[in-house]
Amino acid sequence: MKQLKSLPPWLDRMLILVAGVAVYVVVTAVFSAVRINAYWARVLDQGLIMALGSLGLSLIYGFTGQFSLGHAGFYAIGAYVGGFVGATYGKGSMAWFVIAILAGTVITGFIAFLLGLPILRLRSDYLGIATLGFGIIVKVLLDNADRVIPSLGGARGMTGTPQIANFTWIFWSFWLVFFLYRNLVCSSFGRACLAIREDEIAADAMGINTTFYKTVAFVLGCATVGLAGVLYAHRYPFLHPTSFDFLKAFDFLLIVVVGGLGSLSGTIATALGWVFLLEGLRFVLGETFLDFRGVIYALLLIVVIILRPQGLFSGRELGILVPRSVQSGWVRGVPPVQAGGERDASPGD
């Protein structure tokens, strides 16, 4: 970190955007130099979309401690709303793509708000069950959606969304959200969320309006995965309800937990690693043994969780993400749920 000390403050804060330009330039240069095939380009896009969606859950669960199993449901809402707008009105125009992005993000956020009002007062496991229920409702509704809106395709799947989300769109959507998240996390908002994760009662007693912060975190996180859904719909020509079932919700959850709760770097690295691992295994195993993917990644998860229960990054961030002005006091440890048995409530409270 020594060489960073000499940076002017504004550059220090914006370093993450500068880094974004650098990464973008390098990746596009490498792609055109190596003539990477369309398949791997698509895998990278998928990785970025997963990373974007996982950032949403990272805010909800990793930072605010609200256990959600319904993340795939919000992903689906974003994808279908975006896909519907794109397929019905868009027909490939860029203006309509932007409208689809806004519609998908805002509507997902709004539904999260409506759902959050009653269920965010639930704690841990109960919240998990309620959100799981929501995810299942969304899946069933989508399975039967063609009876109301035929173009959604129901259980036959939806096609016809113009495929106009290229690497540039996906990369910059991801990076801008990442930038906003980084800033929020190192503000009083992020600290309030973390306080709620650590001890909701104490946070309340310290003047934190816990309902407000939980709702904002939930809505922001869900809107983010809604955005990821819109991008997905414009990158993959076929939407099907089974791509958004509860296994998908577990994917998001696993990425956040394995990456380390309370770490944006961990979430992003794990999301990318996860997608590339799954696609890589396809080649290593070959068609005959493809089903063994499930066994291999499950084993890998078990090993990771035994060796590093606090997650790969355990609440730390890459240095470049943390501006100097907030570097002190940054480290977030492992949340109490993971450290085990520290949270016994006594009758005194």
């Binding site: 800033n183 009083s188 310290m206 005194g348 409270d349």
Partner: protein, 267 residues
Amino acid sequence: MPALEIKGLTKFFGGLRAVHNFHLTLEEGELVGLIGPNGAGKTTVFNMITGMLPPSQGSIFTDGKNLVGLPPFRVTQLGIARTFQNIRLFAGTTVLNNVLVPISFRIGYGLGSAAVQAPPYLRHEDEARADARELLQTLGLGGREEDLARNLPYGMQRRLEIARALASRPRILLLDEPAAGMNPSEVATMVDLIRYVKEKFQLTVFLIEHQMGMVMNLCPRIVVMDFGEIIAEGTPAEIQSNERVLEAYLGRRGRVLARTPGEEAVS
């Protein structure tokens, strides 16, 4: 005007009357101790003042406002901060972060300004950090800012709880057994610390404590509760010689002596 005025505070848990008709007026700058045997209802009183439990009856006034029905975060924002009997720090974050949390609600920047790190964010963030560091220094926690709260030794965790409560700039500080589990020399340090912060931050302090020596030494006025009711109130000397207090703590003299050997099994 009194700092805190509690009238007729009553709490039922189902059929159990945990607190009954609790009256107390805290004058500005007073230091009052609340004692009583286990289960007397002391923490319940604290929980009602801070909005964590809704009272069944009664009113709590501070600064002309009735606190009954307000959520805990509003009560804190109105200038009443508390610590917890069993320490409830934000254990997995740094000491500095713990103190920064209550500063949040009086920081003058919004979500939008934080999202793009606009000038208001930068200005207030620097101020908040300077505040937090100074406070930690004052409470003898300087140099531990980067440690995780859970890694502090016990005595320091107690002090960090007080620092965190002070960070919300309260007028009234409620301390729930600040010296629980401490050895005599640590208790003496805690007494000095409470006196010091009370003067420095011009606080009204209301504390629950089990260590008699500490309360007698620290509080000019003491309130004693038993079975949810105030049974005595006065100076340490008055309390020490009060019949009902002795009875609550030690039992009634006559009854113990009159007890026959067979009776013990029954009671």
